[in-house]
């Protein structure tokens, strides 16, 4: 899922300077699960903004709306008819889809979208995937070194790995330490000797913004004609 965290309130308040109608948009998908922008957090944000408006005489008319999945147009219809500013508690994807669908609204971010990860323990979320577009975790014991090694090394740990920790922070496990241990446990030390050659990054963000077309899901000519008839 997509991991996000709430923006500092002062930043959000600054973005609302001069606003009148304010809708706090929550999302029941990823940002709800990482406790950054679900219905509860959207309501909390709306209450805080109302209070701030009252205290500082801003005159904001704050309401809240939470949708199932802000990154799909189908779920954003309830925004129809709203005016003014939308504080998106959905991820950066949801915020952009909402903005594109309703160009007259001013969509501002209420969260910082961080990464693709998973909950590790209560309230702790860890990055797992860098979305490089060419998965190799079958070679690395199911642990992605591109996302989880601070240097995205593909052929083993750097000289800064110590006691299972990354040189960057004592809170960060060394992904390669985990990979090496997992491979040894599985009896796959042989995989650790395989040299992974320079990666083709074209499938990653480095190849430019990506567009995935699934030919099976794209309507064919006959289906299009049938749809048009309807």
């Amino acid at each position: 899922m997509i991991i996000a965290e709430r923006k500092p309130l002062t930043e959000v308040i600054e973005m609302l300077d001069g606003a009148q109608q304010v809708t706090v948009l929550g999302c029941r998908s990823c940002t709800a699960i990482c406790l950054a922008g679900g219905e509860k957090e959207a309501k909390e944000m709306a209450e805080t903004l109302s209070l701030s408006s009252e205290l500082n005489g801003k005159g904001w008319d704050v309401s809240t709306l939470t949708v199932e999945r802000a990154c799909e147009k189908e779920f954003l219809a309830p925004l129809e008819g709203r005016k003014g500013t939308v504080v998106s508690m959905a991820c950066g994807v949801g915020a952009q889809v909402a903005q594109a669908m309703f160009p007259m609204l001013n969509v501002v971010p209420g969260v910082n979208t961080s990464n693709m990860g998973a909950p590790e323990s209560l309230g702790v979320f860890v990055e797992k995937c860098a979305g490089c577009g060419d998965c190799i975790i079958h070679l690395t014991a199911g642990i992605c070194p591109i996302a989880r090694c601070a240097k995205s090394l593909l052929n083993g740990p750097c000289g800064g790995s110590q006691n299972g920790k990354c040189e960057v922070s004592p809170d960060t496990p060394c992904a390669w330490d985990q990979i090496v241990k997992a491979q040894l446990e599985r009896g796959r030390a042989d995989l650790l000797q395989v040299i992974i050659p320079p990666k083709d990054w074209r499938s990653s963000r480095n190849g430019g913004p990506r567009r995935i077309v699934n030919p099976e899901a794209v309507p064919g000519e006959r289906q299009k004609a049938w749809r048009d008839e309807e």
């Binding site: 601070a150 240097k151 995205s152 090394l153 593909l154 052929n155 083993g156 740990p157 750097c158 000289g159 800064g160 790995s161 110590q162 006691n163 299972g164 040189e167 960057v168 922070s169 060394c174 390669w176 330490d177 090496v180 241990k181 040894l184 030390a189 650790l192 000797q193 040299i195 992974i196 050659p197 320079p198 990666k199 990054w201």
Partner: protein, 300 residues
């Protein structure tokens, strides 16, 4: 055929000496020239660090060329942190065209350690892949993507090994991978924990790796117990036994004790099977190097 003095010395079975020089944070080359002149004849080759600890310095390429002009043979260090494969190949072509032959391939310290922690890092390739790229340029006369180099670079390729980082059981495997990818010499992290280094070399010899790649062992003269503590607590991937810290703390003259300790280490390394030389890192104490090589009896 050897392309550099360092390669020549190693191939002839001489005990090699390399020494590290930290380039200045300045456009004034005279200080570097002076240091280079002072170090002349102390080592077979001199490593020019590449924005060490992620702090901005004169580039390793420029400082390598300045050293060449002063009659020193450089080992140009190149990290994967700041360059993609295009810049790496371009820098190697440029360096070789100016006379640089020894290139050391490194991951590089993460930028959070340096003065510009806000920067983006590159890591398009890792040091093993970097070796593959440079070897292809040299041996096949091709860029990584297959374009012909009308004159390929002459290179003696090196890499780093850290016997003190974890997981220990993988450290020798990584050295083997680097040798397989094209490393001809390996310079190790500074050795203060001799027990661990001996275990490491034992594993190297078990696999016969000392015959595939020249291993140059890192040494460091420490000026005080504070320097030892800094290495122990602040430098990633270092192992500093408490005895070393205590020995320097108790010493009446810590500097002299540090030199003595370093000389003892070199002495042990000289007779260790599979060790083909020493790499001296005397950070901000480069002028001690002549005395070290003389007293250790390793001056080339």
């Amino acid at each position: 055929m050897s392309v550099s003095l360092l390669q020549g010395a190693l191939d002839e079975g001489k005990f090699a000496v390399t020494a590290e020089i930290g380039p200045p944070r300045s456009c004034e080359p005279e200080q570097l020239r002076k240091m280079a002149r002072g170090l002349q004849g102390c080592a077979h080759a001199y490593n020019l660090t590449d924005n060490q600890a992620a702090n901005v310095r004169m580039s390793s390429l420029a400082s390598s060329v300045i050293c060449l002009q002063e009659g020193l043979e450089p080992v140009m260090q190149m990290t994967c942190r700041d360059r993609n494969r295009i810049a790496m190949q371009s820098d190697v072509i440029g360096a070789c065209s100016l006379g640089v032959r020894n290139v050391l391939c490194l991951s590089g310290d993460h930028q959070v350690f340096g003065g510009q922690p806000q920067s983006k890092n590159v890591y398009d390739v890792d040091p093993i892949q970097q070796l593959l790229i440079f070897r292809r340029m040299r041996d096949e006369g091709l860029t990584w993507s297959g374009e012909t180099l009308s004159r390929p670079p002459q290179l003696f390729l090196g890499a780093a090994a850290n016997p003190f980082a974890d997981p220990f059981e993988f450290r020798v495997a990584r050295l083997a991978k680097k040798a397989e990818a094209g490393a001809q010499f390996m310079q190790t992290q500074c050795i203060l924990d001799m027990d661990r280094f001996e275990r490491f070399m034992g594993m190297v010899r078990e696999r016969g790796l000392q015959d595939k790649v020249h291993i140059i062992a890192g040494v460091i003269p420490l000026r005080s117990h504070k320097a030892a503590l800094f290495m122990k607590n602040r430098v990633a991937g270092m192992s500093v036994p408490d005895e070393v810290v205590d020995r320097l703390r108790r010493a009446a003259d810590p500097k002299e004790e540090g030199i003595k300790l370093c000389l003892e280490t070199i002495d042990q390394l000289k007779s260790m099977e599979g060790v083909r030389g020493v790499h001296i890192t005397a950070i901000a104490w480069e002028d001690i190097i002549p005395r070290l090589v003389d007293e250790a009896g390793v001056r080339p």
